[in-house]
């Protein structure tokens, strides 16, 4: 039922590509913003707004801003210098994966970049690379800014020179964002990426492991407020606006908003020093009083355990098991504590924990006790009793377990029961008199 009206346009008239593109009715992805439509106010040159200078070489330009902070500079209640007083090997390995060696923050580079987009991938450029290092007179923040896309080479050159010889990198979310982008930039420029195989400490990952459960957010701005207790100036800009501000500069020469971008980047670097110090302190003296509110001992215990520091791990779990915030944390701490004890061969202590945790929210204390009784103590009657108690527990908690998990558990328990009873028969052990459970 198609009523069709046909209008033949002039035959043979050839449209050019531009006209065809316009006719395609494509939504332009970037509509003009009101600020773009308004006349551009007179813009002061960048060097009059941000302290720094232009470096020019063979037609390529880069703006370099530098600021030296004294070592006694206070940030988040700490001096920048404090980080250097802590022994790296005591805290750093806990924040890095696997076999990364610890390194001296005094000879490392703090790094933070601002990008042309928020996506990872080959088309995102780092237009501002901020680096921070400890130097003899203080902490030096150096920022490299590329004024246009064609000037990237110069920026990469200067950054590589600064990074040469650094024995470590410290960043916030750099492992998955900043550093892959930096590497990609060098690859695309057909240059060797700097700092190959240099150990990299990502403070976001470290903070998450420590504080995920005690802090509402582990974003840097939120850590600044809740851990470091600092507030930024009004000129700071939110990260998500930064790509647009760069476009405004490149296309329309708007320099004013860049002041906030440089400030934002610089503050990120300074905060990283303070954050690193806090993290180091928390893990170095977890049982002191001065930062009790920031100590999640369960999380600390897991950090120590994965770092092979079992003594501290046991201590931390014990603290969490006693002082945990709520039932869940206490249960979790007991579980980890008991398994660590078991791993260390301290079976009696482990069994003590399991006995205490019977009739809790999980079935493992019964199962573990039964294993100990059966395999180590050859107390088959005891093992049988505990296994029966376990089946009882499963039936009482049937609603929470879900059908398939319940079936699996019951099958396992029945299997164990049958084995234990066979062993009892073979060894002539008498069953204890307990309430029989079907």
């Amino acid at each position: 039922m198609s009523a069709c009206l046909v209008a033949l346009a002039t035959l043979g008239w050839i449209m050019d590509l531009r006209t065809r593109l316009q006719r395609m009715n494509l939504r332009r992805d970037a509509p003009a913003t009101p600020s773009e439509l308004s006349p551009r106010p007179a813009q002061p040159p960048l060097e009059s707004l941000v302290e720094g200078q232009w470096v020019v070489s063979s037609g390529s330009r880069c703006f370099v801003a530098e600021r030296l902070y004294p070592l006694e500079h206070f940030c988040g209640g700490l001096r920048l210098l404090d980080l250097l007083t802590l022994r790296p090997q005591e805290w750093m390995p806990l924040g890095m994966s696997g076999d990364s060696p610890s390194f001296d923050p005094g000879n490392a580079a703090f790094i933070d970049i601002e990008t042309t987009g928020l996506a990872r991938g080959a088309g995102t450029y780092a237009f501002l690379v901020g680096l921070g290092f400890f130097v003899s007179q203080g902490f030096l923040v150096r920022q490299y800014f590329m004024p246009d896309y064609a000037d990237e080479d110069m920026l990469l050159d200067l950054v590589a020179r600064d990074l040469a010889g650094k024995t470590g990198l410290i960043s916030f979310n750099g492992r998955s964002f900043d550093w892959p982008i930096i590497e990609t930039r060098y690859v695309l420029a057909r240059r060797e990426p700097p700092c190959r195989d240099t150990p990299h400490l990502d403070l976001l990952l470290f903070s998450r492991r420590l504080w995920r459960r005690v802090l509402p957010s582990c974003a840097l701005s939120s850590l600044e407020r809740s851990v470091l207790g600092i507030d930024r100036d009004d000129i700071d800009v939110p990260s998500y606006l930064i790509p647009q501000m760069y476009q405004d500069y490149v296309r329309r020469g708007l320099t004013q908003p860049l002041v906030g971008v440089f400030y934002h980047n610089e503050m990120d670097l300074i905060s990283m020093v303070a954050l690193a110090t806090w993290v180091a302190r928390v893990v170095s003296s977890p049982f002191g009083q001065e930062h009790a509110s920031l100590c999640d001992h369960l999380a600390l215990g897991r950090l120590y355990e994965s770092g092979g520091r079992t003594g501290e791990a046991l201590l931390a779990y014990q603290v969490a098991a006693q002082r945990g915030r709520g039932r869940w944390e206490i249960d979790a701490a007991c579980k980890r504590l008991s398994f660590l004890l078991k791993r260390l061969g301290r079976y009696d202590e482990a069994m003590e924990v399991w006995r205490r945790k019977m009739d809790g929210a999980e079935v493992y204390p019964y199962v573990e006790l039964a294993k100990q009784l059966e395999h180590r103590l050859h107390d088959y009657a005891g093992a049988r009793r505990v296994t029966l108690q376990a089946t009882d527990w499963v039936q009482r908690n049937a609603g929470r377990l879900g059908a398939s998990r319940r079936r699996r558990l019951m099958a396992e328990l029945r299997h164990r029961l049958a084995r234990v009873e066979r062993l009892m028969a073979r060894t002539g052990t008498q069953a204890e008199t307990t309430t029989e459970v079907t």
């Binding site: 198609s2 209008a7 009715n25 042309t116 996506a119 896309y149 064609a150 490149v250």
Partner: protein, 867 residues
């Protein structure tokens, strides 16, 4: 195989089955044809093959391996189960043996296929003692493993979507891989057609660009099912010449093909008995003779229906219910694996599957396959039939036809199935929508340099256009991406328009999941509120469509009707690219702007075609620039048809209750003036009242439906003087003949162009304003077009010949949905008129077509109220 022979014998002797068998063809066994093992092949590989029991390579394998080792880009076209995998695995393994840093990329259309091939390849590499990391990389790869795959994989198995969105935009993290990339293997190439293929061609362009950045120039090996144009497709897809290997050397057992056309149950509508019901008889015959059987259906729904029937049968026949299994998308992977294993081991005797099983997945050799309904393309049909009969065993394949036009065409023209494939897989990598999307993606991946080229259009202009939209910026001599985010994330390989509509299903428990995406161009036709949308065999009711947000909320339903929109379409030719004249018509191809507006839709009962109701929709008018082809009738042919009485109007006597009243209301509304020429009524002679949309189109059946109410709405009526009415009515007669032919062409085009019927739009007009001649338009219902209508130009004569066959061969009485559209008693001349038109176009004498029943003699000067 004794069982199979017994089963075939029984089918042949069963009166009820035998009567409806339209074809019984036996293809005798053919022996293997071997070729030389290429001397360049590493002896370790020859040894490995010998260990697997392969002493010699089949002819196509030897030719393909030889050509690949010789450095050529190759396309291999051989049937299912002919050992295609070896054609590409041997050269890849050979390269790995010589240099363990060599890399290869395998691209499969589905994840399942990639995983299947992963196992094969790993086994071969293991047998050779190669420690080369071989990995798949797709949506199922756990995040934790991805970094390791990126770092270490030398052979990577992936799919086009992952390459497009996951790998290419992050190429720097794959630099080791791209730098050493030697082979790109593309299996199931014929799947890359239409808009999907056009996108994939661009993904490959981007891949090559990245490879050349890292200094590699990979060689391409592609495999395809049999289609008419494998070399052309490969050339367009890869952008380079290819060597064709198509001489199949694999042996084949004796195969019996049986085509079965269920008996007609409704002549008017051309309806036949349900294919699902009929298929049961075959399954019963085969299973009771212990023949392992695979049944293919075209939708999930029919899979479940048939399965339920078979389970009933199983109870009676005391087969184990576990011996009969379903297999379709939506089953859990573990469930699927267990069914595949059951099929291989023989514990599963019958599987009812959708085309999910068609591709590659190894299920061993079965003895029989039954297609319940033609699967849409001949290539697919062969792949399904090829699932039966591995090696030299005897096998049988059955096709049970449905009532649909394509099924009926295939079943009555078996030469299409057995002859040279007529199917063209078409793509247009330079479709402007597609091209522009990928220019964005490519500029994100690497800035374009001045003077660089990409595709066949002017890159400078494309980048200039993007620069105006502030998505790229020219700095120095290069164009840099400055848009927001990564453009690949916003580019679906399944739609032309970057702004597509997401189809989101709301399940009963409130959960939401995305079912698919649709181009805006098809949205108003398929996803308007109230529409029944069919996806992967499941029916969904469209609950709401948010045009601006690009979101259609749907709900899975099971209903016995479908929906059809009624729309008005306007076509404006923008540029003519090619034009050829025939004696009786002129056919041209070019670009056109199609404007359409959907005003309402009808609910039509499945099967009977009965109209169940009418719904209105409120959607904006839409427009797209696309490619089109149009056939314009010459003046001579119009004259001749007029002389032959070819343009006969049809008359309908009964307009339903209340007609007189509506008629008077219309005349009063129009102030008793002719709406065309303005003439007032003369005393004693009333003007006529004309239906704008013909009355008969509403398919009113007295006492069965109320459709006359819709037809007799005032909005559908117009007052005309007798003179003007005669013109209008003649237009309508021509219009209905033209649209009848258009409809037939619409049925046939998918047969040649491997497209979904809804990818092609058909419109016709009695008087195209400029030429003033009757014209049929065929256009790509895909923004920018993918070359479908372009191909129609060269296929035009063939299509007209087939159209005549189809109409003549259709067993309906006066036109049905399977041929020219429902005509009904009211227009007994519709079929002969379309046939006369085709004959006139082809310059032939009109062929006699005698519709059943007395032929009507209608005069041109119709009385009042002719529609």
């Amino acid at each position: 195989m004794q069982g199979l022979q017994r089963a075939l014998e029984r089918i042949r002797l069963t009166e009820g089955l035998c009567r409806n068998i339209t074809l019984w063809r036996v293809i005798e066994a053919s022996p293997a044809e071997y070729g030389e093992t290429p001397s360049a092949l590493d002896p370790r590989l020859v040894k490995m093959l010998a260990a697997q029991g392969i002493q010699r390579l089949y002819l196509h394998q030897s030719l393909a391996v030889g050509a690949i080792l010789d450095g050529q880009n190759v396309v291999v076209v051989t049937p299912t189960a002919s050992g295609k995998t070896l054609c590409y695995n041997l050269p890849v393994l050979d390269a790995l043996l010589h240099d363990d840093e060599t890399c290869a990329l395998y691209m499969f259309p589905t994840k399942a296929l990639a995983h299947d091939q992963l196992n094969t390849l790993q086994a071969s590499a293991g047998a050779l003692g190669l420690a080369t990391p071989i990995a798949s990389y797709d949506g199922d790869t756990p995040t934790g493993r991805r970094a390791r795959v990126r770092r270490s994989a030398r052979v990577l198995l992936t799919n086009p979507d992952m390459l497009h969105v996951g790998i290419l935009p992050n190429h720097a993290r794959w630099r080791g891989f791209f730098g050493k990339l030697r082979y790109v293997v593309i299996d199931e190439m014929h799947q890359y057609r239409g808009i999907f293929g056009s996108h994939v061609a661009n993904v490959l362009r981007r891949l090559e660009r990245i490879c050349s950045f890292y200094g590699s120039e990979p060689q391409f090996v592609t495999c395809s099912a049999t289609i008419a144009n494998p070399v052309d497709l490969a050339k367009r897809l890869l952008g380079k010449p290819v060597t064709l290997v198509s001489r199949n050397g694999a042996p084949r057992g004796k195969r019996t093909f049986v085509f079965y056309n269920p008996p007609v149950v409704n002549r008017e509508l051309g309806l036949r008995r349900s294919a699902i019901v009929e298929a049961r008889a075959f399954v019963e015959c085969l299973l009771s003779n212990d023949v392992q059987t695979l049944v293919f259906t075209t939708s999930r729904l029919s899979t479940e229906l048939l399965l339920a029937h078979l389970r009933d049968d199983a109870q009676r026949a005391v087969w184990s219910p576990q011996a009969i299994r379903g297999y379709r998308g939506g089953y859990l992977p573990t469930e699927r694996r267990s069914i595949e294993r059951g099929l291989r081991e023989g514990t599963v005797r019958c599987a009812v599957a959708t085309n999910a099983l068609e591709l590659g997945v190894d299920i061993g050799g079965l003895s029989a396959s039954i297609m319940v309904g033609y699967p849409g393309t001949i290539a697919s049909a062969w792949q399904q039939a090829g699932r039966a009969g591995r090696g030299l065993d005897d096998s049988a394949a059955f096709l049970v036809a449905r009532s649909s036009p394509l099924d009926q065409y295939i079943i009555s023209h078996p030469d299409y199935f057995f002859g040279r494939s007529p199917e063209h897989a078409l793509i247009d990598p330079d479709n402007l929508h597609v091209l522009l999307s990928h220019v964005k993606c490519a500029s994100f991946e690497l800035p374009f340099a001045e003077g660089e080229t990409y595709g066949d259009e002017s890159l400078e202009d494309l980048l200039g256009f993007l620069a105006e939209g502030r998505q790229v910026r020219k700095a120095g001599s290069r164009w840099h991406w400055t848009g927001e985010g990564c453009p690949a994330y916003g580019t679906s390989l399944r739609t032309a328009d970057p702004v597509s509509v997401a189809i989101v299903a709301q399940d009963k428990d409130g959960g939401r999941r995305t079912v698919g995406q649709l181009d805006r161009a098809q949205t108003s036709l398929l996803l308007h509120q109230g529409a029944i949308y069919l996806h992967d065999g499941q029916q969904y009711l469209v609950e709401s469509l948010d045009w601006d947000a690009g979101l259609a909320l749907v709900q899975p339903v099971e209903v016995d009707y479908y929906t059809r929109t009624s729309q008005s379409t306007r076509i404006e030719i923008e540029r003519v690219l090619e034009e050829t004249s025939r004696p009786n018509f002129c056919v041209a191809q070019g670009e056109a702007t199609v404007t359409w507006h959907v005003a309402g839709y009808r609910r039509v009962r499945l099967g009977s075609g009965e109209h169940l109701g009418w719904g209105e929709v409120d959607l904006p008018e839409q427009q797209m620039l696309t490619s089109a082809c149009w056939i314009t009738l010459s003046d001579g042919v119009v004259e001749r048809l007029r002389d032959q009485g070819g343009w006969v109007g049809d008359r309908v006597e009964d307009r339903g209750p209340g007609w007189q009243r509506q008629r008077d209301l219309a005349r009063r509304r129009d102030h008793y003036l002719c709406r065309w020429c303005g003439a007032p009524e003369r005393p004693g002679r009333q003007h006529h009242v004309h239906h704008i949309v013909p009355f008969r189109d509403f398919a009113w059946v007295p006492a069965q439906n109320e459709n006359h109410r819709q037809a007799n709405r005032l909005a559908n009526l117009i007052t005309l003087c007798p003179n003007c009415h005669r013109q209008a009515e003649q237009h309508l007669a021509v219009q209905s003949t033209l649209s009848g032919l258009g409809r037939v062409l619409g049925h046939l085009i998918p047969l040649f162009l491997m497209c979904d019927p809804r990818d092609v739009g058909i419109a016709s007009d009695v008087q195209a304003p400029q030429t003033g001649s009757p014209t049929i338009f065929i256009y790509d219902r895909i923004p920018g077009g993918v070359g479908l209508s372009e191909q129609v130009l060269s296929l035009c004569d063939e299509l007209l010949a087939r159209a005549a066959e189809l109409v003549r061969g259709c067993q309906c009485a006066f036109g049905c949905p399977s041929c020219i559209g429902p005509g009904g008693e009211s227009n007994r001349e519709a079929k002969p008129q379309v046939l006369r038109l085709i004959a006139a176009l082809r310059g032939q004498e009109p062929l006699r077509c005698s519709p059943p029943g007395p032929s009507s003699s209608l005069s041109l000067s119709a009385p009042d109220d002719v529609v």
